[in-house]
């Protein structure tokens, strides 16, 4: 009988065994840290000494913390600007999607920023923006304008960083759209042509609907990229000048690591997690509805 147990339950057990390693790693490296940081967010803790329970103290403080307000405002700006990435790369994709040998080389140049590490992107743009020796100001000077210290002007610094971040982001979305464009159903396009569709109506009614999967992914990666933006802020300004370009993810690292406030950092992480959660939930529901529709 013992030997038969496996035979009887093989179909049920096999998936469990196959999933086990991944589930275990997921539990240790994703689930545990989430709950652990949720717990830490209720304490005042410098990372070394005693942990003091303060309940929702960190969250209450966050409510009236100017830095956090700035961070949320900047995250919002990031989000809006990053939503420009999909349409821009779609336009670029349609332009590049022509059967010309010359364009192959140009296409690869457009992919280039996506391959480069964000650290390099950040450094290149910091030099580009340097008010004394940077390319941007040589150009402004050339056309007779005053130099612009992008990274030390509190009003434009966030946009300066976002432009740097959009550079690789557009390349990423571009790849998605080029794959989508390559997979267009030629028969439908032909049929539309026969029916007299061209120009805008062709694009809007025939091409764009076929690119829906690519658009969906492009919007998702852009929103995620905007909300978890950290690297370029850390490299280009460290949240400066005087904290005006900070975002939630950067503020979290600064509080936890540099200011020795693990609890407050964890509370910021929790808020960021919740914001992302709303979005991920929406995403999952859409995927689910989509699948159901197809079935």
């Amino acid at each position: 009988m013992q030997a038969n147990f496996w035979d009887r339950n093989q179909l049920k057990l096999a998936p469990v065994f196959f999933l086990a390693p991944a589930m275990l790693l997921f539990a240790v490296y994703v689930l545990y840290p989430i709950f652990s940081s949720l717990r830490i967010s209720f304490f005042e803790w410098d990372g070394v000494g005693e942990m003091i329970w303060i309940g929702f103290g960190n969250y209450i403080e966050m409510w009236e913390d100017d830095r956090v307000h700035t961070a949320i405002k900047n995250n919002f700006i990031w989000l809006i600007c990053f939503l420009l990435a999909p349409p821009l790369s779609l336009a670029l994709g349609i332009f590049l999607n022509q059967n010309l040998t010359e364009l192959k080389f140009i296409k690869s140049l457009f992919f280039f920023p996506f391959v480069v590490s964000p650290v390099v992107v950040g450094l290149i743009f910091s030099w580009f923006y340097n008010p004394k020796y940077g390319l941007l100001d040589s150009f402004l000077e050339f056309i007779g304008l005053n130099p612009l210290a992008v990274l030390s002007n509190e009003n434009i610094v966030t946009f300066g960083i976002i432009i740097a971040a959009l550079w690789p982001q557009i390349a990423y979305c571009l790849i998605l759209y080029l794959t989508g464009l390559a997979g267009l159903n030629k028969e439908i396009v032909e049929a539309a042509k026969i029916d007299g569709a061209k120009g805008w109506s062709m694009f809007w009614n025939v091409i764009l609907p076929q690119l829906r999967p690519a658009t969906f992914i492009a919007v998702i990666v852009s929103v995620l990229g905007a909300l978890r933006s950290f690297d370029l802020v850390a490299i280009m300004t460290r949240g400066g000048p005087w904290g005006s370009s900070t975002v939630l993810a950067y503020e979290m690292v600064e509080q936890a690591i540099f200011n020795y406030r693990m609890g407050y950092g964890a509370a910021l992480a929790t808020i960021l997690f919740l914001i992302l959660d709303i979005y991920i939930a929406w995403f999952l529901i859409r995927v689910w509805l989509n699948e159901k529709g197809r079935l």
């Binding site: 100017d66 008010p131 210290a149 030390s152 460290r238 400066g240 000048p241 690591i257 540099f258 020795y260």
Partner: protein
Amino acid sequence: MKKLSILITAFLFTITAMAGTLKITQNSSNANTHKLWKEKVIPMFEKENPGINVEMTIYDHEAYKTAIRNFLQAEPPDVVNWFSGNRMKFFVDQGLFEDVSDVWKKHGLNSQLSAARSTMTVNGKQWGVPLTYYQWGVYYRTDIFKKYGLGEPRSIADLMHICATLKKNGITPFTIGTKYLWTAAGWFDFLNLRVNGYDFHMGLMDGNISYEDKRLDKVFDIWGDLARKGYFIENHASLSWQEGQAPMLNGDAAMYLMGNFVVGNLQEGGLTGKIGYFQFPVIDGNVRTWEEAPTDSVHIPSKAKNKADARKFLAFLARPDIQSMVAEVEGMLPTNNQSPAPSDEFLKIGFKVLSESAGLAQFYDRDTNPEMAKEGMKGFQEFMVKPDREKQIRKRIEKVRKRIFKK
């Protein structure tokens, strides 16, 4: 077979480790320092103390600051590098550093290391041994000063006159790079030390005095005056302290309030023989001249395994000959007053200034709580660009102080 040999090696290794291995850290970013420790300091110690085997782990300077918090609690080395003052106090308060007052007493360090003694003392006990320190002050272009007939200022009025003359001739008086914030704190520290003196400054650092206190008005008045008149280079919030050197190198700016480590770079940049140093000028004749001198130090973690040998090593590092050897390579000053006087001209002046000073402050971000320092310095940076926001800035810093020190 291979496994067995690994086991044996591991076993032998533990045995040698038990026979007096001393684990130390090294956080200097200077490769010459690593070389000096490997080739001279450690071999000398091992020779004088047979049976002790020193193992040194080299860390990246910035990464070390976070790494130390972890290893002090878990498996600490026997001797660690750190910084005296409030940064040391942070670990002392957690009970993570060993009280080494006995080493001080036994080797007569109380008199030999008197200059840095107060910065190593918490609750009347010493918690480590200072290694090196260096002076801060104004480094200036002697050729530019000569060209406009300017001399070294003794008072703030002299300094304002120099600034006005330079500005009139199209030269920005001061360069600075505040992108990483701390350079701005140098200005705050000196102005406050000169206006209000050490006790007030330390009271502020310890969180006992409000940032909206009336006595600080004069500090911000003078500082704001300098900023409003355009005496600091433009767009300094975009520049790191290194990038801030460029205007001085090409003659667009004439002075830089900085630590002595700037000299090497300026000389390499082609200014050898064209650099001078003066002490931050007096503002109030009734206030004595306190100086900034950040001190690097060594400590024994309270969870260290080999504390007996670690104490020997600390005493060894406090010795005048070892101190001057280490200081020379770092371009800094030995803390032991029995050490031979340095030969470098800037170190010579620094030695004189520091030994004649009324006392030493460490530096804003070493003297106060880390978070307070961060938020305070953001405010200072903003103030230097937008001096008209003084009120809001001080209010914001004060809010942070109240929360951190709960006063």
